[in-house]
Symmetry: C2
DNA sequence: CTAACTATAATTAGTGT
DNA sequence: CACACTAATTATAGTTA
């Protein structure tokens, strides 16, 4: 995305992939924070990666739980067949 | 972010805010998709906004449920006091 | 391995239709 | 309203230390 266009598939080289992951992980959460702040949005992001033993929960555990519960309630009330 | 630097607070004008939300919502999910594809990452994003009656669940309901369950199991096993 | 730098690609605020 | 355009900002691949 900068010195070269991104090729839209898994980055084969492990070192490159790890570095890219770190940068993009930061970038994604920054974008998420901006969307929440600039517009009136409630959101959460949960990320699992091979580079960390624990999931990254954004913005925090409390919001993630609250948001997921609302999602589950919505899906149930809408009688969606997803459970 | 383009013709003007972004001011990091709620966009007061409702029309501007709605337009910005639409653009940034698309942009965020694109970045999320890229992170998943380029690096080996499992993730989900749930977004609530005043502009839609239903939450946006990315990449889909099944992944969101799976990811959230893993998060809950992790938190429980780690004996975190978050429930 | 990490972190800083920088050239270039990608995103997007403002604008026009 | 939605979409296309584009100037300007922001993100980041590759590089250097």
């Amino acid at each position: 995305m900068s010195r070269k266009k991104v090729i839209f598939s898994l980055i084969e080289n492990e070192t490159d992939r790890k570095v890219s992951h770190k940068k993009r992980h930061i970038g994604l959460l920054k974008k998420a924070q901006e969307l929440m702040t600039l517009c009136e949005v409630e959101m959460d992001v949960i990320i699992y990666s091979p580079y960390s033993n624990e999931p990254k929960v954004f913005p925090n555990h409390g919001v993630a739980i609250s948001t997921f519960r609302k999602f589950k309630e919505f899906a149930t009330s809408e009688n969606k067949k997803i459970w």
